[in-house]
Symmetry: C2
Subunit: 340 residues, 2 copies
DNA sequence: TTGAAAGCGCTACCAG
DNA sequence: CTGGTAGCGCTTTCAA
């Protein structure tokens, strides 16, 4: 009898057949018992024997075999490339995972660094997820969507700046963030605006539309806009501050609070008064932004709740033929503090 | 019979049998061609026919079926509970994912919020991963490890404060972080030390050993230590600062830079001079810490590189019988700035 | 050079 | 109430 678990490496995992043998029943019965199949009544003694056998062997069902047989899984795939830092995103992520789990989905985050769009879609399709929720770090083309659909994905949902054809979309309009920041600066009397563009790769999906937003707001007021590339380090910030007076700007949108804080400090160290000489606005409304002096003005972004998104996933999975919807969920507003 | 591919929702994903039929060959041949099986020579025209058929149908192999047949997968499971924010962690994560991918593993991050240790281990085991790399947010018990082993996991590796029995471990000694901070404060002449304990859940694995570390350093010098619970918000920080003089502390370790900055600002606003009256030290060496005035002293933590860890995973998978090793990889050192 | 068939672990029918 | 059995999609002998 194998009651002492001495399977360091050689022995294969126990299967339902092993459990059946040990319990002296058939594999079918094992399946019925362990899944509490309602349609079949099994005697209590048998149930106990099966349960004990399973326990003793340390039996764990084989998810792949199960979903192969079932013809579908309850896996929700969340592709990610670069995990975006920041409390906003991680809160969202955690909420989403938690909500999906309580709807009985298996959440799988699949890292897809350095794959192109179709390559990635293929890799995801191999796992036959019931739903794919793309957070927008990895591109998703109509071809990719089609491929996922044919591989059994009931729901393909994109969360990000734009809607992708054929998917349900949760559009988070980054343009609006820029527009709000731009309008605020204009309102504060600024006419020559800089916009920080992060030098780090992968942030273009956010930074480019934000720049567009600032442009739109500026144009309406006859203000000018200059994009300013900046890596998130002190030296480049210092260098940028050193040539600030040549740039002749009286307001700047810092992409987000972190870049804004970096730049603001560099400006102050270079003797440029904030907000008198140059107003600074960030976004994300981080706690740290309130710790600097002057306190950082910012665009507060209310991201969609993870729970809402989970519900959308579930609805689309159950009703796969609903036409792709476009949901707009990004309430943002300016928080005016002292830096502008 | 399904002759016309109406892929919208109803039609199932094409299988290798469908490809075989369309190409006029057997399923075996399809498999040989698509996997470039070296042991078998297939004529070039046949190969082309198969490839074209696969292309036309949008065929994607079924990962579950494949690994079921193969008896093993190349899935590396990264369980996560609350995704820890912070650039340190995300850089590490990205590196790890990238490195594992280039070693041809499929990296799957599995969110396990609100599950207890053994429940979680079971859920992971169902996926039959070849390796599990636990980042320490979810507890892993010896029972859990045993279960994973029996389910075919060749490598179970824990990254975190302590080693778990039966696993290879990458120990990141959080005690040391606290000890360094404590020693530094003592060295700066401080004798009554506060230690911030984050009020947010899930951080205990870090905060408790760090507190222990400070205690050890303080004890050696005859200094006292007081733990201070603090939520990451301005109000509680203000409240703590308001009763600061009653606490009668002349030095504080802020858990990390973020909490340290929050507290430092609250202290300054309450009229307590930093570092004269109270010295403040954080950890993580964040960029923002250098933007406040006084600049924040901090404990710089050099985490293990993701690449190194990936190599360890690979080595253990190939050589599963190597005795569990304990690797120590956490070079940390104090960066003395102006707040202490 | 290709095909037929077995079987990975599981569940769902249908008999007994 | 329980057991036999087919078959999910795939790879891999063994035969032709």
């Amino acid at each position: 009898m194998s009651q002492s678990p001495k399977q360091s490496a050689g022995s294969p995992a126990p299967t339902s057949a092993d459990v059946a043998r040990l319990a002296g029943v058939s594999r079918a019965t094992v399946s019925y018992v362990l899944n509490n199949t309602a349609a079949v009544r099994i005697s209590e003694p048998t149930r106990r024997r099966v349960r004990e056998a399973a326990e003793e062997l340390g039996y764990v069902p084989h998810a792949a075999a199960r979903s192969l047989r079932a013809g579908h899984s309850r896996m929700v795939l969340l592709p990610t490339a670069h995990v975006p830092v920041g409390p906003l995103y991680s809160r969202f992520f955690n909420e989403l995972q938690w909500a999906l789990r309580s709807l009985d989905y298996t959440v799988v985050q699949y890292g897809s660094v350095g794959m192109d769009a179709d390559e990635a879609a293929r890799a995801w399709a191999e796992l036959r997820p019931v739903a794919v929720v793309s957070l927008g770090h990895v591109e998703l083309t109509p071809t990719g969507v089609e491929l996922l659909r044919r591989s059994g994905a009931k729901a393909v949902i994109t969360v990000g700046p734009q809607q992708v054809e054929g998917t349900h979309a949760l559009v988070m309009d980054q343009t609006r963030v820029g527009r709000l920041a731009g309008a605020h600066l204009v309102e504060r009397g600024r006419r020559r605006l800089g916009v920080v563009m992060p030098g780090e790769p992968g942030l273009e999906v956010f930074s480019v539309p934000r720049l567009e937003g600032v442009r739109a707001a500026a144009e309406a007021a006859g203000a000018t806009v200059v994009p300013l590339s900046l890596r998130y380090e002190e030296e480049p910030a210092g260098a940028l501050a050193a040539r600030w007076r040549d740039l002749d700007l009286d307001g700047v949108f810092g992409y987000n609070d972190e870049y804004a804080m970096l730049l603001m400090r560099a400006l102050q160290d270079a003797g440029i008064a904030v907000p008198e000489e140059t107003a600074v606005v960030g976004s994300d409304d981080l706690v740290v932004g309130r710790l600097l002096r002057p306190r950082l003005s910012t665009v507060h972004i209310d991201m969609v709740g993870g729970g809402e998104l989970a519900e959308l996933v579930d609805r689309v999975v159950r009703e796969p033929d609903t036409a792709p919807e476009r949901h707009e969920r990004l309430d943002s507003y300016v928080v005016h503090r002292e830096s502008s």
